[in-house]
């Protein structure tokens, strides 16, 4: 009888190991769309940042930590994701505070317009990369659409098992490691795809211009979290010029009111596009929706001056290994930029 128990236990262990291997094999490697790898890359350099950026694709395409360090000596990291919803920003911020306490947090306000989860794929790309913590559990339970179930996050194999019949070479190549795709969270886009025709004068008609309660509620929770940690929360709206992601005046008005009421700084960079020097014939890689690296450098330079002058982030002192770490990151950034 004892022999039988031993065999059963060994069999269970063997099955567990095999399933673990299969899980590593079938989980998407996101080599074709790098947005799935952004969250996970933070943990490799999760200390010594003065500023943390959170938000959706506008934030990781508009601000370059390397340039912020080079020009203003500000150490920063961009924890952005494709369509990162406001509650996901909150939980990622909560997760960040478990590693370090930045002096300032910058939140891109476009995501406030989404009141409920949009697509399961976005949830997975944002949340799967997080290390397991109460923050990850919070992120999952607040983002799940109805068809999703919590166990699919605990065991991604249950969600991605059907990819076994659609494996690619990268699934084997990156089975245990993952490709590095960002420069401290900035996803470099070197392409130039100018905006065609005359600039749009208005975005799509929206059903209702009041910002959803859920996103405002989590914005408030972010503000409280920053206040608790003595961190300044700064709201920004990155420049964009497309009818699809149009920042309607009603939204701008509501965020301005909220910022004044809570004493937060709020910068809407759309009207200041000329002042920043952004030219949509050279500084965008997708016809005006997002900035490419050249546009982002102008944007970061402009925003860096604001941070230094208005938010006391000038002449910051850093430890020896932070400075040397940034030296390497700068070299890597320029190597990638000019290649």
């Amino acid at each position: 009888m004892k022999k039988r128990i031993i065999i059963t236990v060994c069999a269970i262990l063997a099955v567990a190991v095999i399933l673990g291997l299969l899980q590593a094999l079938v989980v998407p490697k996101y080599t074709s769309n790098a947005e799935g790898l952004l969250t996970g890359e933070y943990y490799a350099e999760a200390e010594g940042h003065d500023v943390i950026f959170v938000g959706d694709c506008e934030v990781y395409e508009s601000f370059i930590p390397a340039v912020l360090w080079e020009k203003y000596g500000i150490s920063s990291y961009v924890r952005g994701n494709a369509q990162q919803l406001t509650w996901q920003s909150y939980y990622i911020l909560e997760d960040t505070f478990r590693y370090e306490t930045p002096k300032a947090v910058v939140f891109n306000v476009l995501a406030l317009k989404y009141g409920e989860p949009q697509k399961e794929e976005y949830n997975r790309m944002t949340v799967d990369g997080m290390k397991w913590s109460p923050s990850k559990i919070g992120a999952i339970s607040s983002s799940m659409t109805e068809e999703e179930s919590f166990i699919d996050y605990v065991f991604p194999l249950l969600r991605f098992h059907s990819r076994i019949t659609a494996l690619e070479a990268d699934d084997f190549k990156y089975i245990f490691s993952s490709k590095k795709v960002t420069h401290s969270g900035y996803l470099m886009q070197k392409g130039i795809d100018p905006m065609v025709g005359d600039a749009p004068t208005d975005g799509r008609e929206e059903l209702d211009y009041t910002l959803p309660e859920t996103s405002m509620e989590y914005l408030e929770k972010m503000r409280e979290l920053c206040a608790e940690n003595g961190t300044e929360l700064i709201l920004v709206k990155s420049p964009t010029n497309s009818w699809a992601y149009w920042w309607h005046d009603e939204w701008d008005e509501q965020v301005r009111e909220y910022a004044e009421e809570k004493g937060l700084a709020y910068y809407n960079f759309i009207p200041e596009t000329e002042a920043i020097g952004i030219d949509y014939s050279t500084d965008t890689y997708d016809k005006g929706v997002h900035l490419n690296v050249y546009g982002a450098e102008k944007m970061t330079d402009y925003f860096g001056r604001i941070l230094a002058e208005n938010h006391g982030l000038a002449e910051l002192s850093h430890s020896e290994e932070t400075t040397s770490a940034w030296q390497e990151r700068l070299d890597a950034y320029y190597k990638d930029r000019n290649s």
């Binding site: 065999i7 399933l19 249950l158 098992h161 059907s162």
Partner: protein, 530 residues
Amino acid sequence: MQFTSYSFIAFLAILFAAYFLSPKRWQWVTLLVGSYVFYAFAGLDCLVFILFTTLSSYVISRLMESALKRENDYVAANRDAMSKEERKAYRARAKKKRFHILLWGLVLNFGILAVLKYTGFAVYNINSVVSLFGGKGFSIPSLLLPMGISFYTFQTMGYLIDVYRAKVTPERNIAKLALFVSFFPQLVQGPISRFGDLGAQLTAPHKFNGKTFTFGLQRILWGYFKKLVIADRVLTAMTTMLDDPAGYDGAYVLLLIIVYSIQIYADFTGGIDITIGIAEAMGIKLTENFDHPFSSKSTKEYWRRWHITMGSWFRDYIFMPISVTRPMMKLNKAMAGKFGRVAASKTVAYIASGVTWFVTGLWHGAAWNFIVWGMLNCLVIIVSEALEPAYKKFHDRFPKLTASAVYGKFMSVRTFLLMGVIRSLDCYGDVGLTFRLWGSMLTFKGFGAIVTGGIFDLGLTAADWLIVLCGIAVVYFVSRASARASVRERLYDRPIMSAALCGLMFIAIIMLGAYGFGYDASGFIYGDRF
């Protein structure tokens, strides 16, 4: 709560633990609580109906029991004072009184089932008749259909009839009866158990036994393999063909018939394997519901191997009683004079089986296609019964041929296809449409299209079809092996091989199963129609 949902797996694990940890005397209580928790997941308002059925059956069974006791005491007390005829008359009168009590139970419970399941169907038919004369029909009410009502109602009525026939002593403890009515695994799709077989087992204590528990888990695993790897995967191709019957006619109908036969076999026997496995893990033996149905050589044999418990229920509680009722006997006597004894008795049998098949069809679902399905099955059985002498002559003329294995295989394939054709009434839904499609099937239109790749744009890739084919091969191999001797018994003697195979099976289910996000949690075919 579908069998294929994660929450059911968690529920099962908790129930097993609670069942074996609770003290022997209270084990059946844990089972009862578990069954009602399972049932509550299907909707609290359904509880009302299952409680009503339990309560009414309890009261009626006790009334019949006391009536029978009074009858026996009376006869015993005056045994000598009464002559044989008097005694016979008294027994007949007492039996009629007991029958009345039984009738209350049947009317009450079948009444609920009829109202909930068939009102819509009845109103629909009334509407179509009324609209013939230009009237405006009634609005069809949307009625709540409690989970498993068809199964637990039939099982409980079987119990009541057994009590009436004094074949079973009624259960005194209403909670124990409640467990028999609501034993959760068989709620979704049977098997329909008899109180004589299951009643005592449910309330008897069961010590944890490694062997039966492993056997139970293995059977559950086997059920999930058939359900998730084969049935649910093939379902995608079926729904594509069913969504556009006009587009997929001709040879596609034949393809659908074969695919549906595979799908319903894997889905139904898989579900029953899970049900029987769960019971077996807890030391409870449920009646087998299938016995290699696709090896049957005739329709009659098929219906002794497919959904056995339903067939035996209808035979014992509808077919037999009908054939011994007075009108039937009078009809038999009347016809015996004119057409001879054998012909008369045969007609009685045919009428009785016609009625039984009508009720079977209706029980499967509240729609004409199910009734036509039932009647067609009946027709095939009666025709093959009537042609019996012709078959015998054919067998005598070619003894070598008919005894050969090839002819045996031919008969199995013939029965498989015949049953598949009739069964396709289930999925096409509309009787007229189905007959037209059967007609177009004979033209074999589009056969070329299927073979040259048409089969791959039904929603299943080549890999999917390969997985399904391997699944079928495994099922075929295992069922052939189990025909000789119990596979699990032989595996039990080789623990390493058994553990390896179970591990492999588990991995196959996790990797190749059609479940989770992207696959809609498709309930069991029978589960959908309660």
